[in-house]
């Protein structure tokens, strides 16, 4: 077994002639909890799609050891919400990669689906058609789809979209808990909420700057060049990262 789950080397990709991401390097190891932050259009989702194989980069290599199972929550759902499929079936589709093309669900798979639906608080809706759920409920189901395969790495692209505050907190607690065994790469435009559980931060704005844990100094806030604003009052736990090297 390799010592990493995903390795990106010198990745460059763009649309037409304009690079969206340039010379990106990133290594994800076991039990990592990486927060990926950066402005809109900075290339966060592009990097995720490159890892997931949805986009082939112009340049650079993606290495993922064969046995690494990845759970994935895309930012925008590409599905047709009038398609006849139940909540339970959607969650089970997260086992596609493990089960292969001749997938038929075992009793164990179905039990796993029930447990996963419990985790995301959607057990009562197991047999509802996906199209009858609200946006937040759908998001929970898709988080369930990412979790069901008990992946070694969980990639969540803006998981807090559509969900209410209560579930958002529950989700972050759940992530913190599974981080004992699972690596997590979490994309968020507002990382303020989860700063305490994140172990390292990747700032993405065309280039990627990686900040390992414990790089916290107050004065660096001023020169922070990931253009996000975190304004808080009172004793809120926080971290400030060093300036990016040019």
């Amino acid at each position: 077994m390799s010592d990493y789950l995903v390795e990106l080397k010198d990745i460059t990709f763009g649309y037409r002639e304009h690079p969206v991401v340039e010379n990106v390097n990133l290594t994800i190891r076991e039990k990592d909890f990486i927060g990926m932050i950066g402005p809109n259009g900075g290339g966060k989702s592009t990097i995720i799609k490159i890892i997931m194989g949805l986009i082939t980069p112009w340049k650079g290599t993606v290495t993922i050891p064969n046995q690494v199972e990845i759970g994935y929550l895309p930012q925008y759902q590409s599905f047709d919400n009038r398609f006849p499929i139940s909540v339970c079936e959607v969650v089970l589709s997260g086992l596609m990669r493990k089960n292969g093309v001749l997938a038929h669900w075992s009793r164990q798979n179905k039990k796993l689906a029930r447990e996963t639906l419990e985790k995301v608080g959607m057990a009562d809706y197991a047999h509802k058609p996906i199209g009858e759920l609200s946006g937040g409920q759908m998001q929970r189901v898709f988080i369930g789809r990412a979790l069901i395969s008990q992946p070694a790495l969980l990639i969540l692209d803006e998981p807090a979209t559509y969900v209410d505050n209560r579930f958002e907190k529950e989700l972050y607690q759940l992530l913190e808990q599974i981080n004992n065994e699972v690596s997590i790469l979490l994309v968020s435009h507002d990382v303020g909420q989860i700063l305490t559980s994140i172990k390292s931060i990747a700032c993405v704005n065309r280039r990627l700057h990686y900040h390992p844990s414990n790089q916290i100094t107050e004065k660096i806030l001023a020169s922070y060049d990931c253009p996000i604003d975190i304004i808080t009052h009172g004793p809120i736990p926080h971290r400030v990262l060093p300036t990016h090297k040019p």
Partner: protein, 276 residues
Amino acid sequence: MILEFFNYQFIVNALLASLLGSITAGIIGTYIVTRRMVFITGGITHASFGGLGLGYFIGINPMLGAGLFGILAGLGVEFLSKYRKIREDSVIAMTWSFGMAVGIIFIFITPGYAPNLMSYLFGNILTVSNADLIAMAILMLLVLGLFIPFFRIIQFITFDEDYAITSRIPVYLFKYLLISLVALTAVMYIRVAGIILVLSLLTIPQNTALLFSNNLWKIILLSIGFGILGSLIGLIISYVWNIPSGASIIFTLVLIYLVGSVIRNLHTAIRVKRQR
């Protein structure tokens, strides 16, 4: 009178064609409707007319030419839409009319007797031959052979293609196989219902089924059922009142759909009333 109805070989063939065709169309039509590719299917069917014309011109079985053109048109549209740089509906419209144009040109320049175009535009289930039945049976087996073992994967690919790609499923292999079967089904149905009426058999029973179920398997089974029912009643009407069979079958299918939606609405209304 109904017994007399079964005495004719062409009626027996028509009934067998309805049965085999309804099974194939029930499955493929459900794929077409749930993946919202009704327009693509229309394009494929009309493009196949080009192959039909080519078949006449070079003197091979026109249905073979139609099948070939249909598959090429389907694969072409799927292939182009993979790159998402094109407007899919525009490409379909171009394929649609180009195929028809090619067909007309070939038929026009073929020396000698011009074939009866009407029979291809409107079809006739009462002229289905034994060879047609064998072709329909083979197609049905191919469709069952793909859908029974790979049902779940096809469901997931249709529901969320991008996610299936990230799950390392050979999504495009499945899409190309499926579009080829869609093309063959559409072309097969040209014999029964004609180019203009093919779409109805691949969409009306499915939409009737969707009134009653959200489960993909049940939708397929109900579509097959409604397809058989519509073809049978349609054939009887055609026989009794001496109406072209394609038209009477489609008329019946629409009637079943309307009855179904009334039942569905009444059912919902009663349920809402009880809950109050």
